[in-house]
Symmetry: C2
Amino acid sequence: MRLADLATPALVVDVDVAQANITTMAELHPGARLRPHVKAHKCTLLARMQRDVGGHRTFTCATPREVVGMAAAGLGDDLLLANETLDDGRLRKMVECGGRVTVAVDSRDTIEAAARAGVGEVLVDVDVGLPRCGCGPEVAGALADRARQAGLVVRGVMGYEGHLQMETDDHVAKVASSMELLQRAALDVGGDVISTGGTGTAVAHAELSVANEVQAGSYVLMDSQYGTRDLPFRQALFVWATVISVSERYAVADCGLKALGMDHGNPTIAGAQVWFCSDEHVTFSGLAGLRPGHRIAVVPAHVDPTVAYHDRMHLVHGPPGADTEVVDTWEVDLRGW
Amino acid sequence: MRLADLATPALVVDVDVAQANITTMAELHPGARLRPHVKAHKCTLLARMQRDVGGHRTFTCATPREVVGMAAAGLGDDLLLANETLDDGRLRKMVECGGRVTVAVDSRDTIEAAARAGVGEVLVDVDVGLPRCGCGPEVAGALADRARQAGLVVRGVMGYEGHLQMETDDHVAKVASSMELLQRAALDVGGDVISTGGTGTAVAHAELSVANEVQAGSYVLMDSQYGTRDLPFRQALFVWATVISVSERYAVADCGLKALGMDHGNPTIAGAQVWFCSDEHVTFSGLAGLRPGHRIAVVPAHVDPTVAYHDRMHLVHGPPGADTEVVDTWEVDLRGW
């Protein structure tokens, strides 16, 4: 099947670029030094590609559903839920999933929930500057003690410096400051894991070598926001769309708010100006000679909430065009919670 | 089951408010004067409530999937795809779905696609000021002629004044100007349908009486953006979430970018200040006494792309609280395209 025959809107992945991105990242952070985050692509076959092409066997998840799905796909060697949960049922499902599962904790309550459900191993999640989950670095040691008293093995610390992923001023110095907090907490906590990072800080972490694992995920597929940073990863993900209406001033394609994560703003279309998106439409101008029925590639501003809208992704070799062959279709099988 | 026992994040609908909203709208636009848009809730059981409580038997859809699903649910008396498509396969599925299906056309290409697939009836979609689909009013008559030559029955016109849904300055006058364009096109096109409108202009249309059917959808569930307008509809939809982390300055709940449409900005939480959302989190402050495990109700800024992330909605009577009983769970069965 050619892309011209694909029902739209539909996710399209340039598998050559995805593989190149995986290879580039594996050179920066080989093997277990990268713990790829699956929340960006939510696809066990892409995770398998990260294992086979990148040599990574440890993975990061954001939801219990991702953990359970990864284990079911045979990718459960070492799964980290880099997120807090107090849901007894879901914690138990992770315990029973057959994989090695480590859960983030940042409070007495999350420790108790983990212990109650029979979780074996935890990381203490430390606030390294992003106002989100994570305990203060100064109490990380006490939480680790409490976790051990509750019968949990404390493997070390994690802390996500999400506020620095798009920061370009004094980037490395700011990441280093953030890592000082994590390193101090790691000394108090014990264990051998210092886990952090994302696509925007992966290069800095290769230089700093404080963390011993980086949780990047977006680098495989990329999005237009990360594309504005000078990162060694290229755009592999597109939403393939059909032009359905053309006027003198603008054109409209069938890729809207229900096919795109919009928190980072409008998507981009090469050579065009995007005016706005509606539920099922993107209005844009600047492409000459368009007719209803023509196909275009839309680049989402934020990969994670875009992929979460779609059932499947279609693989192609090279940049998407009407004549490009679809070589495979993969299920986005880790959606939901 | 109580809401305290519900896995989160999860859609919760106050069914009393939803029914009251349906009743209020049916007083404004009874029977076929409202053609409820199902794109906002994507749920055939809610559409059935619109039929049973509101007395509406004609419906508006944004995608072929919605049309086919509505017909399969026995709600196919008169379905309008208020959107353009050139997808032969999906057009044929609508033709074969067993319902009465009318499709919007705004170009020679969309007319040809409809005729090729065996569509029987169309509306001419007219640009009434929103830069999206719709032909210029001046060519609507010629397009209607062309459609009739292609063997299609032209039932009339539609035109969506989406740019006026949130407009409060000279609201009725601006809607009236927009309707002048549609009325002029209707004279050229013929047929007896003049279809338009949404939740934000439904009151104006009751006053103006130019259109003979209004395509409102959001009014059943509502969102915080429409909530800023002085409309006679109340908030029925919430994303139910669990507090998973609490610090001195803020708290974090498990309702993020993959559970919320974000194009209209951050969600709201009663009594709280929302700081920002991440993929799986909302960070907020201002609620005293929160502990991990507490539950909160998050009000999305935009109903349509929020519902599209969820598999199901949970029905309650009255405002959501931890002890509120879940009286039913309905599938969001019209998702996708």
